[in-house]
């Protein structure tokens, strides 16, 4: 047979990979514990010493005003802003020694967010796809009627920093957009638009009657792929499971309330529903939308340059870089976050979803241990905290320490965003020693600059 697909040409190009095929199987695969991943990206740079890494010994003028509280694990303490989450500490590993080794790159929100999405510091020789796109490429979808990589809703200020890089378009993130907490919300593009299901079925029948393909050319690749993608698309549009996956109204009100009926709570809940429906990789990227009850809250992310402890909005006289937020302790900020995150962990635990789902609570960077003259905290890439749960992540664990102000890492270990990415890949059993080839033939190794965080395995 004569056959020269691009694939075989690429396999030639992967000179290095040919050698690697002979390697003993790496730890990957053996360690695969996750079938899906739920990332909660709280964009803007959540203050670590006001949340997961309390510093009661810090000088009073820079200390967090919030009390340090016990959790349900002796010895692990959060601030009182995480009162609800504290009762699930037994299911969490808190990594307090996250750091950005090249602070110049990820110290901005666009690049920092891209860094989080792709797991590699932006600006390399090839633009890296999101971790979710790589996962889609490597593992495909486990629910044929749903996209493999979904962002809920993808509305933070930095949502456009998701990247497809060199991967084909089917691995692009699917963003639901909109305000899932509103009763009228439906997911765009995945529901039949302006046509009744019965009529769509009649149309599809007519189509299958008329579509005889290209006579004599049944083996043609594009012809076969067209059939299979059409079948999959029809399934997405007509399978009741698709609608169900996005149907928040179908959840018992008790469950909806436990997450919080506002925007954030319902986004977190939708994240859980999609994982439950078999979506491989879900990123929650939300912020409280502007609303009359939150005056001055035009951009409710975590970028608290000004007035971080304001009881309402953070705007200062003369305007500052941190306008548009509300104080960190307010409901649209950490109030709703604590409630939603605690509910999510509890709910997923109860449903057994934590068995095979890796949950990651992440942010671009932390905030300065010192309060600035605008009563805010600025960007801090030296140390910040991520929280993990599920898929074999040990519960009730703290990894790493920072100094008494939360400024610098004092533990011998420090982990990078690259390490976070490799942790995801290895949890999913993805062999990071295998390259992905760009259309131009260059081998790219996702996660090449990182190592899995051993304490999470």
């Amino acid at each position: 047979m004569l056959h020269s697909s691009l694939l075989s040409r690429r396999s030639f190009i992967s000179l290095g990979a040919a050698g690697l095929a002979a390697l003993p199987a790496l730890a990957a695969g053996k360690r695969a514990a996750a079938k899906s991943v739920l990332v909660i990206f709280e964009q803007g740079g959540v203050s670590h010493m006001d949340t997961f890494d309390p510093k009661p010994e810090a000088p009073a003028e820079h200390r967090t005003p919030f009390k340090t509280i016990d959790t349900n694990v002796p010895g692990i303490r959060f601030t009182e802003l995480l009162t609800k989450t504290a009762s699930h500490a037994d299911k969490l590993t808190i990594v307090r020694c996250m750091t950005q080794p090249k602070p110049g790159i990820g110290n901005s929100h666009p690049k920092g967010s891209q860094y989080i999405f792709s797991g590699e510091s932006p600006g390399g020789a090839e633009e890296m796809p999101d971790i979710g796109s790589v996962v889609s490429h490597r593992l495909g979808s486990s629910a044929r009627n749903l996209p493999p990589y979904i962002m809920v809703p993808g509305t933070s200020e930095q949502q456009d920093n998701t990247r497809l890089g060199f991967l084909p378009p089917q691995h692009r993130v699917f963003k639901t957009g909109g305000k899932p907490h509103e009763p009228t919300w439906t997911v765009p593009n995945l529901a039949l638009a302006g046509i009744a299901p019965e009529r769509f079925k009649d149309r599809a029948d007519l189509l299958s009657n008329l579509d005889v393909g290209i006579p004599g050319a049944g083996q043609a690749k594009d012809s076969r792929i067209l059939m299979s993608v059409r079948e999959q698309a029809e399934d997405m549009l007509t399978n009741p499971a698709t609608r169900k996956a996005f149907d928040l109204q179908a959840e018992p009100i008790r469950v909806r309330e436990s997450y919080g009926l506002g925007h954030r709570g319902q986004c977190y809940l939708l994240g859980r529903k999609l994982i439950e429906s078999g979506v491989r990789f879900v990123t929650i990227d939300c912020r409280e939308p502007p609303a009359p009850q939150y005056p001055g809250g035009g951009n409710m992310n975590w970028d608290h340059h000004d007035h971080i402890y304001s009881p309402k909005d953070t705007s200062i006289k003369g305007g500052g870089a941190g306008a548009g937020r509300w104080g960190i302790q307010t409901w649209p900020m950490m109030g709703s976050t604590d409630q939603a995150f605690a509910a999510l962990i509890g709910d997923m635990h109860q449903r057994g979803l934590l068995e095979e789902t890796l949950v990651c609570f992440v942010t671009e960077f932390g905030r300065t241990p010192r309060i600035n003259d605008r009563k805010g905290r600025d960007h801090w890439t030296h140390a910040f905290s991520f929280a993990f749960a599920g898929a074999g992540v040990p519960g009730g664990q703290i990894v790493g320490t920072t100094d008494s102000e939360g400024g610098y890492i004092t533990s011998p270990k420090a982990y990078t965003i690259e390490d976070y990415a490799v942790t995801i890949y290895e949890k999913l059993g993805i062999d990071t020693s295998k390259p992905i080839h760009t259309p131009a033939g260059r081998p790219v190794y996702p996660g090449k600059d990182g190592h899995a965080i051993p304490e999470l395995f």
């Binding site: 047979m1 004569l2 056959h3 020269s4 697909s5 075989s8 040409r9 396999s11 030639f12 190009i13 000179l15 290095g16 990979a17 050698g19 690697l20 003993p24 790496l26 084909p168 378009p169 089917q170 692009r172 593009n189 039949l192 638009a193 302006g194 009529r199 149309r203 007519l206 189509l207 009657n209 008329l210 579509d211 005889v212 393909g213 290209i214 004599g216 050319a217 083996q219 043609a220 594009d222 012809s223 792929i225 067209l226 059939m227 993608v229 059409r230 999959q232 698309a233 997405m236 549009l237 020693s433 390259p435 259309p439 131009a440 033939g441 260059r442 081998p443 190794y445 090449k448 600059d449």
Partner: protein, 817 residues
Amino acid sequence: MRLFFSLLICFTATGMVAADAPVKIEVHPAKLLLGSKRATGQIVVTGHESGVGFRDLTAEATYAVGEPLVEVQEGRVNPLKDGETHISVSAGGQTVKIPVTITGQSKPDLVRFRTETLAVLTKQGCNSGSCHGSPDGKGGFGLSLFGYDPVADAESIVRGGLNRRVDLFNATDSLLLKKPMMRVDHVGGKRLNKNDPGYAILHDWISQGTKTDDGNLPTCVKLVVYPGPARVLTTPHLTQQLSITAEFADGSSRDVTTLATYDVSHKEILSVSDRGRVTGLKRGQGAVSVRYLNHLESVHFTIIEPVPGFRWNDPPEANMADKHIHTKLKQLQIQPSGQCDDATFIRRVFLDLTGLLPSFEKTNAFLTDTATDKRAKIIDELLESEEFARYWALRTADLMRVNVKTLPEGRAELLGRWLIEGYRKNTPFDQVAKEILTATGDGLAVPPANYFLAIPSAEDLTETTAQLFMGSRVNCAKCHNHPFENWTQEDYYRISAVFARVKKTGKIVSISADGETRHPATGKTLTPFGPATSDPKADRRLAFADWLTKPGNPYFARVEVNRIWARLFGRGIVHPVDDFRSSNPPAIPELLDALAADFERTGYDRKHIIRLVCNSQTYQRSAATNNFNEADDVLFSHYPVRRLSAEQLLDGIGQVTGTLHTPAELTVAIATAEKQAAAKPNDKRAQTTLQRLKDRSEYATQRLTPEQSVFLKAFGQPKRESPCACERIDEPTVDQALQLLNGPIVANRLAKAAEAYGKLTDEELIRQLWLTALARLPNAAESAKVLPLLKKSASRPDTIKDLVWAVINTREFLLQH
């Protein structure tokens, strides 16, 4: 990238032969000089079979040594003692004697770091991109990719790792040996065995004191691979020994058959051992590439196995394209498909040449025309059409960053119109290239100057120019020598040097009096790529453009005819179209060479080549396959079925639903708009309307810049940010299917379609719908399915919508076939 046959003088012998024995045998090399203790030779014995072809006899030949100064095993020669002797090579009843000179056996022969140690590290895979050759190394041990930086490698191996990598007193205890042999843990696994030739080299290099200061020894200047550049292997004789010689700057040469690294392009067709023995696995073509240090050469293999029941049916040939393809098909025992019918042809040629479907009137007229030359006539007619110029310019503009973001102030449109003009007037392609590459001036006045203005950096300019006009992806060579081609870092920066004096001030391109490019590693000032010029003050681009466009240039004509070919078949003779390299050989080299020669002969006449290809039997084949060609998808034995492009699809949907102006309607609309604009010269809106009509902005296939709508993006329309043809995505995806089944583009146009088709009788309706969408009449089965639906319809407009929707979603509509 060509091999140097002339250097290989072979001894041949003829004599009395048995019936099945070779007519003569040929022995390479003609003579052997073994000038040091570790020198080797690799003999290759070739039998010339009666009839066609060669046969490798290296393994079965017998080797008798005169004076026993050497030992020979399966053609591999090792020296024993100084002196003169000969080897008598016998095979198939014939004998050829080759003289052998052996010297230097009493002198030490130290291992050379740059030409041996590093070659071994490449051969064992140590310095590959996934291992220690990655930018950050692996496990704390970093090497340069394929040894391109010997100085850094010397430091890393000898001094790095706290000096533990080499143990001068007990070489076998060196990590450099223990790791790859897995005597200690090695994440990279076992890479080296004691009987590998590389083991002795690494071991001896260490025990001889890890000398790395051989930088002043002659460098390798050429790699000679025998046999080459192509070889046919016919079953049952499917093996071929290669013999690899490195030639050095001082004129010496050395057998490196066991030191070289081998790879194959098609693993299902070929395999190769680490000692250079090639085995054909099944019918087909593939390349074996041979790497030694930064040299790479390839041998193109064709594997022939008889196909039961195959008999060449001698199909007609319309022109030389068919001739070259038929030669290849016959050799590989592939029967081409027959000719496509008229309906298929007119749809195919319209889509390929204009991007649009033929109107149903046009199709109707063509189908009823009885003239025998009607296909040739329609090709001529389309080549003269405005739609052709626009659609072909669009695909050229795709590669030149012609988008409004990069070229604001209307400059994208200016460059777009200039490219269209090139096709409209059929400007010789060398002239087009020269005008682009040597443009100076204001981007608003000199459209091709925007080529430079659209490209953000000097590196991009290098890479874009090489990719567009030389079909070469040199970008790897920016940071290291290219891993799969002979492009070196020096070549890369020499191309850069061509453009070192291009100055961009706002939207003005000028040439400054100075500006040099240095090699990033050595700091050496580089001369511009191409021939040396006498006038150091001249615009360097002129000499480069002259060199590039001169007949005989190895890239220019081949790259452009290959692009034309790929646009008409969805696949290049070299594929991908911008990846010319010896390790990615053309499917049919003779075809590419012949088209390139014709292109040069006609003064780079693009329309001539397009016309030639469209008139070939090959272009006019059916997509239906037969038993002898169904597995072929690279030799053009049947028409390649492929998804319509984003633009073709959007306009096709517009045509089928009647939501686009037809060309005739457009002419009327332009005339009306012209009158209105003339009547109100100060009305900006009237002017804009006129310009939009003139620029055909409503047509995705005809407009100047990409619209980048959700629909077009889903179907892979490029943003025009890269010179790579791969920026356009051709694969069908689920997202596309969602657009077609459920998206607003189709849904919103159905109402208009229902209105237009609603005016027709049922029979007229399906006739017109089928002719417009599929360029053919509905068959009886289709009429029988559709007519009753229309007749018993509760809502005729709804039924028409359903019908148009269904036709748009058929594969016959969505595919070029």
